[in-house]
Symmetry: C3
Subunit: 447 residues, 3 copies
Amino acid sequence: MKVILLAAGRSQRMKPIEDKNFLKFLGKPLVQHQLEQLISVGLRDFVIVGGEHNLARLEELAQMLLNDESVDSIEVVEQKDLDDGMAGAMMSIEPVVKSGPMFVVSANDVVESKAFEMLMDAKGDGDVDGILIAKEMKEYFPGGYLNVKDGLIESIVEKPGAGNEPSNMVNIVLHYFAEAKDLFDALHKVESEKDDRYEVGLDSLFKAGKKFKALPYDGFWQAVKYPWHVLALKEHFLGKIRDTFPAQRIGGWEADIALTAVIKGDVILEEGVKVFDHATIIGPAYIGKNSIVATNAVVRGSMIGDNCVVGYATEVARSYWGDSVWTHSNYIGDSILGNNVSFGAGTVTGNLRFDEGNIPVNIKGEKMDSGRNKFGLISGNHVRSGVNTSFMPGVKIGTNVCIGAGIVIGEDIEDNKFVTGKFELKQYDNKVDVAAINREELKKKLS
Amino acid sequence: MKVILLAAGRSQRMKPIEDKNFLKFLGKPLVQHQLEQLISVGLRDFVIVGGEHNLARLEELAQMLLNDESVDSIEVVEQKDLDDGMAGAMMSIEPVVKSGPMFVVSANDVVESKAFEMLMDAKGDGDVDGILIAKEMKEYFPGGYLNVKDGLIESIVEKPGAGNEPSNMVNIVLHYFAEAKDLFDALHKVESEKDDRYEVGLDSLFKAGKKFKALPYDGFWQAVKYPWHVLALKEHFLGKIRDTFPAQRIGGWEADIALTAVIKGDVILEEGVKVFDHATIIGPAYIGKNSIVATNAVVRGSMIGDNCVVGYATEVARSYWGDSVWTHSNYIGDSILGNNVSFGAGTVTGNLRFDEGNIPVNIKGEKMDSGRNKFGLISGNHVRSGVNTSFMPGVKIGTNVCIGAGIVIGEDIEDNKFVTGKFELKQYDNKVDVAAINREELKKKLS
Amino acid sequence: MKVILLAAGRSQRMKPIEDKNFLKFLGKPLVQHQLEQLISVGLRDFVIVGGEHNLARLEELAQMLLNDESVDSIEVVEQKDLDDGMAGAMMSIEPVVKSGPMFVVSANDVVESKAFEMLMDAKGDGDVDGILIAKEMKEYFPGGYLNVKDGLIESIVEKPGAGNEPSNMVNIVLHYFAEAKDLFDALHKVESEKDDRYEVGLDSLFKAGKKFKALPYDGFWQAVKYPWHVLALKEHFLGKIRDTFPAQRIGGWEADIALTAVIKGDVILEEGVKVFDHATIIGPAYIGKNSIVATNAVVRGSMIGDNCVVGYATEVARSYWGDSVWTHSNYIGDSILGNNVSFGAGTVTGNLRFDEGNIPVNIKGEKMDSGRNKFGLISGNHVRSGVNTSFMPGVKIGTNVCIGAGIVIGEDIEDNKFVTGKFELKQYDNKVDVAAINREELKKKLS
């Protein structure tokens, strides 16, 4: 069976976060996590669909994974027209896959291995034309619900509205086809101009009497669509530290840790990490290669990339950092920072509204509810701020941006901007006799 | 003998601090401290005068104290017309007290037990109609001075001016009457419309030849009138930690203290307190129930209420906090914060003028000298500030106020306001090639 | 041989730093370091040239050093007309020195003892009329290059431009004359009105066939001309801690150090220093008498004067402080602070440009490259700032200046100014129901 991993998405709604498939968690790109998880359940043949923007990186990753004895083949295929969505992805792989069993998996549906194991067990029965792993929902979710009769899928109902769900099963992209050709043929016949051609083709198979079974899955599932999903994934992967790493890496491995530093809970310190005096790391937390957690800094519930400096007196709480992020006397709470980001001393991310309601974020011109009442800054790559600057909750800073000192950023900043405030100083003659001030008395009281 | 505790004051000059009688010190309302102190010297019968605004709380307190075997009776009496001052209070209790010996004590004159003990000793002699405990003053104080001749009070001289004092004894409200009826009768005859009817009545007793003795008292005395008096009381009660608490509560009792936390001096940690790593508490200090002193925080010379969070990298110096105060990377110096107050990271209270002179405070429209050269913020209940905001020394923030990020508050803010700054950003094309910057050299220097 | 130490310079380009000769390093004025270094190589007779502004201090210093057995004589001579430069200095000492061998040394050329030792060795040969110690340069430097032929100096070429250097030897003021009268006579003949009379006179000696040898010196050399040179000298003297102090002063000597404080590397704590809990001092560092390094503060690579308070949660990195500097929750990086300087909580010095290029500084109206890409604030004596204020890299603050809260100082501030920002607040009715907010859930998550 060939596994088709769909990884061509351009992350438009994730902006300013670049190429979501290569966001690193616990030191590995998301797409690598996905592949390794598939390999771990016994799958051996892969076709990865990429786009022009990430083809080279996918090929590099494929080469690396081919060294693994458990892998037989990995091919990387380019989807030229990315507007063509999943149907376009299928057209791109048709010449490679041609026929036979196929398992279509989206790199942007993150699930537990259990989901794949369920499929491996079920497909063995050989009595169906396909299987869809469906996420069991406890509350209404605006997705496609499976309409099932006598154990077989009759249709997918898109966003039926709360109370009108035909089942509690929502379609996620874990689709098994006993014969790939069935899908290819169906897609060739679809005439829709819209981006739902894959779904229409799939539906036509149901209508044509093909037997598709729904497998309800009640484990972890996270789409990767909006910036705040990065925080959800960070939490997910931090929760897996104990499974992922051998015990001896928990609590420091080849790292240089000051005697007065405190490290508690499940913490990974990668090679070359330094933890300075009076620093505190409260797990779950991950600190990437050669990063420094400096004097008096605190990291908790966070994932820090490689070559970062969590500078003096910085607190990083529940945040995700890319590589080469530098801070200094900052508070970074519930925030997502890209690569090569640096903040001046005293710069702070607000992460809570006065009314403590959910933080909205602008997505393609529209305010969306992030579903989080603690949510800070979303920063792209190559960003700088001056000292004592304040970022309001849910603000997005584009790529290659410099932001001046002492200002409040309450709106999104586009790529390639240099932003300052308007300051005016008033100068008078100084009437205070500063030279006459003596603090001997004040000093005595210090203890 | 009946003790009349006057606790009906409405705290108008204390604004935005609510109901001064119920401000908590060392976990107990001020009025409870007063009552317990009176009980401790052997007094057993009490009449508390309250107002509509605090009657329920006074009654609750009375019920609780009645469980004490040392107490025979506590009655709570409402004074309807609070504009009627002390004379009104006397009229309210007349039907209850009727006649017999009576000791009138203001809940807003805080003294040491010694003052009460002095009275207990002196009244036993039975040779006078009344006794006034008078505070011995070393410097002029704008109060009522006792004019004493042959051991008996002839009159009270209000604010005589420095150099004109008839004695060094200032009238505070600790007045013993061998026969309460004397006072009631005198007050009925006073025709003044002003709020000095009590004083006029008292004076008429002197004039009528009643024998009133003055007992000079040289111990601690603090009126409770202006916001800065809260700091004086905080200091007073912190100084009593060793007397008030059993030794084992000094330095932590049923509290959860990190190994790297430092606690020095006389410190009370109430039940459920947590002290995180690298936190420092320097006594005298009191931390109320279920409060958290978080990583790297410092508390010194301060009183923290219940359910507070002294957040990461916050310093609280010489301050008074109510319940449910949350901070985060703040400096709170010489400040008074009400209940349910929360500050964004980087918000700071200025507590020293450039000229290091005394800090003035607006009281009912007039600038008053607080007598303190270190004095910070006075915040009411239900207050929020955003990140990186600055409060100037002596500023008052009303109840139910939200204050935006990155601004300087140099004026008092009234109740129920939402305050922001006026910010304008200037945006240009970014000419800095941020992506080209490499910090390998800088990083090597960190240690 | 008489040593002539030139110490009359008025530090105009050093502004706002006062009297550079008396800047203290490791607790001693720079000019004392120079004298002691000269004494240490066996020199015993000194004439110090001062100006009106520092004559008293020089005389006091001379008296003190005369107690040293290794010193035979120290005379302090006033140079009246300071505009007259080095020639004027020579005219001032002529009546005192009259004739005989003389070694002219500038107090503002800081070198290693090796340079003086080289001279002591070389002059012994007695075969020359003079010796100039010349600094060997690896890269072009805009100074006076020695043009040497057959081992003798023919001329000094001022700023020849890169590639046109007649040698790699640059003239610094370490000039030995076998007979002082030669120089005095030559100077009397110079008719130049410009400030190069000394150089012209010296050149006339070369031209007249006097034999002047150049001694190439490849050790440390630092001029003391621009503010940033203070940082270079700070680094130089910190590097000499091990040579200068007996071992037992490294790591604390008669100092009061909290158990949880961390002190690493070469650190001098002078008498009366206190180091509070969780403070960190990373050497090389010097902390002057009676200074306090408070809770959670960090000092690294810095020189702190006497009676300073490195307040709670302050980081001082690679900086130079005079006496009586007070901070509190500040970041002071790569900065030079004079005496009696105090910053409000949250005030921060920016020390890095967005482009990480060298920081320019205004010197007498012209932007000069400091040669440093990390460079913070230059503050004169008697300076105050309010809370949350930001100083941009390379800014200079004059003497006796107060700077308000919450502003960004991006320009130099002249002496005797009081500076504030222009703030406007917008006030609305508060629509947030702050009283209704309960944080029980948030609190549970804290750990």
